[in-house]
């Protein structure tokens, strides 16, 4: 077995076990301290402990540190990733505890790309920016456009994942599939450091999904959703998997883009007056069929008729599964040139 396979497996196992054990403890810890959120899509509106994403942050970090200990050649890329990941999780913790305004939160996540720039300037041979590989075209040399888009490379996935963390197991399940697709793509393209990061992310998200799936025993909070989104953005840049990253995030981008367009800007959940969906007395979810209703994926799915939360979650997972297949196809096409 090649050495990097062992590192990937160790990162996966460590992050899985760490998150699995830690989240079980966090459920009691946050419940006792009253750090809870209301599950508004259940008829009895139960209080569920929040900030379970702390378990993901610790699990992913442990998995990556174990991989670094196995091979110091990966230190720069993995540490650059960890800096972005930790920065996004700090923003998430602040948002969970003090509730930031939507525009402030987005602005802060834009700043999370700074560690990548710093590491790219300090170690230009290790982290190469502005040379994305595209399917059918090959490696590009983007001197202006790439740098203009870079500030959004962390902010967009971070906030898009955050905006889709609305139903039990949707965010954790979809990002778990996304990290698996990124892992397969990085193995296909021989991006070893990206494979190690994705293994750790996949292990941790798989363990977290166990607790977050319907009916959820813990929510990830913004600490989880912002950091996981930032992680997907960071691994896409560091591993040179930009187009694959965009493809795995298609449902997230679709949800965020069409919601923002129909709302006319960045708004906090509490600031939205027209709700996209409503919950019936029996827990059945219904779409707001008005053309002014925000075009969230939930609204779009439910426009065909009411559904239970579990049915809706399956729709999200199915859509993400399709985008993951497309992402693997992109990875396979990246070796094809006209």
């Amino acid at each position: 077995m090649p050495y990097w396979w062992a590192a990937c497996f160790a990162a996966f196992l460590a992050s899985f076990i760490c998150t699995f054990v830690l989240v079980r403890f966090l459920i009691d810890f946050f419940s006792r301290r009253g750090i809870v959120g209301i599950d508004v899509h259940k008829p009895n509106r139960p209080a569920i402990p929040e900030m379970g994403g702390v378990g993901v942050v610790v699990g992913v970090s442990l998995g990556i540190l174990i991989a670094v200990a196995m091979n110091f050649d990966w230190l720069v890329k993995l540490f650059a990733f960890l800096c972005v990941f930790w920065l996004a999780s700090i923003i998430g913790v602040i948002d969970d505890l003090f509730v930031l305004r939507a525009k402030i939160k987005t602005l802060l996540t834009v700043l999370a790309f700074i560690p990548i720039i710093v590491f790219a300037l300090l170690f230009p041979s290790e982290i190469v920016l502005g040379r994305p590989v595209l399917p059918f075209i090959g490696r590009l040399r983007l001197t202006i456009v790439y740098w203009l888009l870079l500030p959004f490379a962390i902010a967009v996935p971070s906030n898009a994942v955050n905006m889709m963390d609305v139903f039990n197991g949707v965010m954790s399940g979809c990002t778990c599939m996304a990290s698996l697709a990124l892992l397969i793509a990085s193995i296909i393209l021989g991006r070893i450091e990206a494979a190690v990061i994705c293994s750790s992310l996949f292990g941790s998200l798989l363990a977290f999904y166990y607790y977050n799936r319907y009916p959820a025993r813990i929510f990830s909070g913004d600490v989880g959703s912002l950091s996981i989104g930032a992680a997907i953005g960071a691994v896409s840049i560091i591993g040179g998997l930009e187009v694959v990253g965009v493809t795995v995030l298609m449902p997230f981008i679709m949800n965020a883009f069409h919601s923002l367009r129909s709302l006319g800007g960045l708004l906090e959940r509490r600031e939205i007056s027209v709700r996209p969906i409503s919950v019936g007395a029996n827990g059945v979810l219904k779409a707001n069929l008005s053309m002014e209703a925000p075009s969230t994926l939930a609204n779009l799915f439910l426009r065909k008729g009411p559904a239970t939360e579990i049915e809706l979650v399956k729709c999200y997972h199915l859509m993400e599964a399709v985008s993951c297949v497309l992402a693997v196809i992109v990875a396979l096409l990246m070796g094809v040139k006209f």
């Binding site: 595209l134 059918f136 075209i137 456009v145 679709m254 779009l300 799915f301 065909k304 049915e311 006209f338």
Partner: protein, 83 residues
């Protein structure tokens, strides 16, 4: 209603958005990247970069408009058929 039935049209919209994104990237590479202005100084280099950026922006805008159009069509179609 089964999950695939409920999400079929939206998945088709997503796949069309993905295919057109790849087409837009290839179009930008084949049509915009080869554009060359006579390089008589830094000003012309700057103008060339700005023109390329604007043209790439136009392609991106066309792609986004197509995506918006498809979702609006879906909303109207579901309002007509399932309301």
């Amino acid at each position: 209603m089964r999950a695939w039935k409920r999400s079929f049209e939206l998945i088709v919209i997503m796949v069309i958005a993905w295919v057109t994104m790849l087409i837009a990237i290839i179009a930008a590479d084949q049509l915009i990247v080869p554009i060359r202005f006579p390089r008589t100084g830094y000003f012309m280099v700057l103008i060339e970069a700005i023109v390329k950026l604007l043209l790439a922006g136009l392609i991106a805008l066309a792609w986004l408009l197509l995506w918006i159009y498809m979702v609006e069509w879906y909303k109207k179609w579901t309002a007509r058929k399932f309301a």
